[in-house]
């Protein structure tokens, strides 16, 4: 076997109270795409930071290209040709492609910046190395998310010194067609002999793209897969969680009731048009659609976060006022938002404060908050939802993604709402917590709640929903019934791979 591009051996990283890495190994060879998977908290981010020289591990060896680096500092690692593509984009919206690619490493001549030279180099790099012909004077804010990601990649690699590139969740904010662009770029880098470490929650991407995969669990590498096929996905899942996941999605014998919630002729005049849907009581109704299909905007408009140009919403025949979020909540409709860190939670507040934010009126008298009552309510919710740590006074900022999502949910359970809208309920949530969240949603439906679930994850929609409406270019393209609901069909519909007689849109 050839010399490893980098090798991390027996790494131990201790934080106060936690052994984040406990003798972890990770080896990546030149010219391979190596997947790194694991649940949240398995140590993926920690080992990346160890490799980056950000953390100094208590024990272990780091070598890059056969040379030991000790102690590893960010400068030495960079000099050894290791580059990191962070999850966040970190770009200036009003900068051009050229300026962004060369940020901090500008080329200058005696008369100031060598703008033409930089522009040619940036355009050539984007075109030849990443397969994306972008004009160098285009502004970042006019680019699609995938193009922005590629600009970020170009910035890390433009100096031509890169030998190892670490991608941390590069596709998280992208629609599936955009993911292809990133994957193509990665294939191209690989063909030049660059070693790639690909960290992602999306196992389908991992099985499609990676040559080998290392699975982390509890701060250790628990398995390395040398041969990856489409079927490796299930094996990866069981290695990640250490048990067979037979009940990943909840089993159900639930029967949906009568049509209760009716959307008629919803339009915002811009991103979606004439959306009409009938949703039953006790039903989990899915909405699928790529970014830009109008799916997110429809959800926002339903909840009063976005102005609607026309359309009525009725519950059991009477008009439901959700023109503002406050009205929606007052009328029993609640939203678990897609960006929970910004829209869903007050991060510096405790679990207790967040969970009871919407119900302060009910647990206070004469403007004074009844602390004891709040504590009881919160403790019950923590127990019901299995929020970890089970500490009402824990600050939500330090909870994992899955537990943060449960806190958002806890708030609305305290409110006893009738209609729940889940927008991307499991983005950034690990596999174990996902399964629990699906069960919670299923329980709500069984108790007769009306559930709308908007998601970009087809597997999630197929696994949990009774019916799924597919949106495309602002219209409901079709509604897939339970018996026809499978991943292939849903993806084909969502991406427009299958042609479809125009039926749904007449209604």
């Amino acid at each position: 076997m050839t010399e490893a591009a980098f090798r991390l051996r027996d790494i131990v990283q201790v934080f106060p109270g936690v052994r984040a890495l406990d003798g972890a190994n990770l080896t990546v060879h030149p010219g391979e795409v190596h997947g790194l998977v694991g649940e949240n908290g398995a140590g993926k981010s920690t080992i990346i930071k160890v490799l980056a020289g950000v953390y100094q591990p208590a024990e272990g060896h780091i070598d890059v290209g056969g040379t030991a680096i000790s102690p590893a500092t960010p400068e030495k690692i960079h000099a050894a040709g290791v580059r990191f593509i962070h999850q966040e984009l970190h770009l200036v919206p009003h900068f051009t492609v050229t300026e962004s690619v060369f940020m901090g490493q500008e080329l200058a001549g005696p008369m100031g910046l060598a703008t033409t030279r930089m522009r040619r180099a940036a355009e050539a790099f984007m075109r030849d190395q990443l397969g994306s012909a972008l004009p160098g004077n285009r502004l970042i804010r006019d680019l699609s998310p995938a193009e922005r990601k590629l600009v970020q990649v170009a910035r890390a690699l433009i100096d031509g010194e890169a030998r190892v590139v670490v991608f941390d969740e590069p596709t998280a904010p992208l629609a599936s067609e955009e993911v292809l662009k990133i994957m193509k770029a990665i294939e191209q880098l690989k063909s030049r002999g660059i070693a790639i470490l690909y960290v992602s929650h999306y196992l389908n991407e991992i099985t499609e793209l990676c040559d080998r995969v290392t699975v982390f669990r509890k701060g250790k590498d628990v398995a390395v897969f040398d041969e990856i096929t489409a079927d490796t996905g299930t094996e990866l899942v069981s290695a990640m969680i250490g048990r067979e996941l037979d009940a990943f999605f909840p089993a159900t014998s639930r029967q949906a009731g009568e049509v209760a919630l009716r959307l008629q002729g919803f339009s915002d005049g811009q991103t979606f048009e004439d959306v009409t849907l009938d949703i039953r009581r006790g039903e989990i109704f899915g909405i699928a659609g790529l970014i830009g299909s109008g799916r997110e905007e429809l959800v926002d408009a339903l909840y009063g976060l976005r102005r609607r140009a026309s359309g009525t919403l009725t519950l059991d025949g009477t008009v439901l006022d959700t023109q503002s979020a406050a009205n929606a909540v007052a009328n029993g409709m609640v939203l678990v938002p897609r960006d929970r860190r910004h829209d869903g939670l007050v991060l510096p507040m405790t679990v207790e404060e967040n969970a009871t934010l919407a119900t302060l009126d009910e647990s206070s008298s004469l403007g004074l908050i009844d602390r004891k009552r709040i504590r009881e309510v919160t403790q019950k919710l923590i127990g019901d939802l299995d929020i970890r740590p089970a500490n009402a006074r824990a600050v939500t900022r330090y909870l994992s993604g899955g537990n943060q999502q449960k806190v958002v949910l806890a708030r609305w359970l305290a409110k006893s709402a009738k209609i729940f809208i889940f927008d991307e309920p499991t983005v950034g949530v690990d596999v174990g917590a996902k399964s629990e969240i699906y069960q919670l949603i299923e329980n709500l439906a069984s108790e007769g709640a009306i559930i709308l679930m908007s998601s970009s994850d087809p597997i999630e929609l197929v696994g949990t929903c009774d019916r799924v409406a597919v949106m495309m270019r602002g219209e409901v393209r079709t509604i897939i019934e339970k018996d026809a609901l499978n991943v292939d069909h849903l993806v084909a519909m969502t991406t427009g791979a299958t042609d479809m007689p125009e039926v749904a849109h007449a209604g």
Partner: protein
């Protein structure tokens, strides 16, 4: 349909971004129609000469805004520049009136001005204070000190060297206009054509992005405040030349026109962000409006109201344009 909608949105954002410019040009046209000899060469020269202190101040301000970001509340801003300018004017006037040399006066003023800039830089970068509040407080404090130094009285100009800034020098243009023209070109090169300038803009555009790219954001921000203080120092001499001496209270109008010019300038830039050359054009436009309103006989107090209203309009429109996008 979506591409179309995005296109419409883009067009709307562009229109809103250009609106401040349209309002200003309409106002100028109105003045031109009511005062026929407003748009002549002599008057244009007067407008330029009148605009010099604002042009200088706004070079400093635009550098600070570029380095700190153009968010009106949390971004970079230096309201203390006008105070630094009158501090320089005050110190120079007092020392030269006492019969001491201009070089000594300029040296003392430079030290005082850079001290103000240094304190601004420390407060904003080390203590992470909001630039808006920090420099507003600095403005008040420095004006206070200046009132102590000058006893808040009028001091006539005694230095011929400063007065010569007003004299015609070449091509029928006064020395002052030529000097400021050269300074504008140098600053343009520095802020828009060098690595330093581009890094400055990166720091203001996205602090995180700049830091990840290895740019020393704090150093750049600190340097921008020092540059602003230096421009304040230079402005001081032009205030003395324009007013034929030191008059208390000059700072208020300078502040108003500087802020207006800076944010108006964003409308000139195709990217709708604050740029140095946009701000300079804005400064000239603001001077033209001031003189124009005076020419058609608008009451001075009304002029202040109009300028204040224009600032609110310009900043509001830039916020709206940002939201539409």
């Amino acid at each position: 349909m979506q591409a179309n909608a995005r296109h419409q949105k883009h067009a709307l954002a562009t229109f809103v971004g250009l609106l401040p410019l349209i309002i200003f040009l309409a106002l100028l046209l109105y003045v031109g129609l009511n005062a026929p000899n407003f748009l002549t060469f002599m008057n244009l020269k007067l407008v330029l000469a009148q605009s010099l202190p604002v042009v200088l101040a706004v070079i400093g301000l635009s550098a600070v805004v570029m380095a700190g970001g153009d968010d009106v509340v949390s971004g970079g801003i230096d309201l203390s520049i006008p105070a630094t300018a009158v501090l320089c004017a005050g110190i120079v006037a007092v020392i030269t009136t006492a019969g001491l040399s201009l070089v000594l006066a300029a040296g003392a003023a430079l030290v005082a001005c850079m001290l103000v800039g240094g304190i601004n830089a420390l407060l904003v970068t080390l203590l992470r204070m909001t630039p808006l509040l920090t420099t507003l407080a600095m403005f008040v404090a420095v004006v206070g000190i200046n009132n102590v130094i000058t006893s808040r009285r009028r001091l006539d100009l005694t230095s011929d060297a400063i007065a010569s800034l007003r004299q015609d020098f070449a091509f029928g243009l006064p020395l002052g206009i030529i000097i400021v023209g050269i300074l504008v070109l140098i600053s343009y090169h520095l802020l828009h054509r060098t690595k330093w300038g581009l890094n400055l803009q990166a720091a203001g555009g996205s602090r995180d992005a700049a830091e990840i790219s290895g740019i020393r954001v704090n150093t750049l921000v600190a340097q921008s405040y020092l540059l602003a203080a230096f421009m304040g120092f230079v402005t001081g001499f032009f205030i003395l030349a324009r007013g034929n001496g030191y008059s208390p209270g000059t700072e208020d109008n300078l502040m108003l026109e500087m802020v207006l010019a800076n944010f108006l300038g964003a409308a000139f830039s195709p990217r709708r962000v604050v740029t140095m050359w946009g701000a300079v054009l804005g400064a000239v436009l603001v001077a033209a409006i001031s003189i124009g309103l005076k020419t058609i006989g608008v009451n001075v107090f009304w002029t202040d109201l109009i300028k204040g209203a224009l600032i609110v309009t310009v900043v509001a429109l830039s916020a709206i344009s940002e939201r539409v996008r």
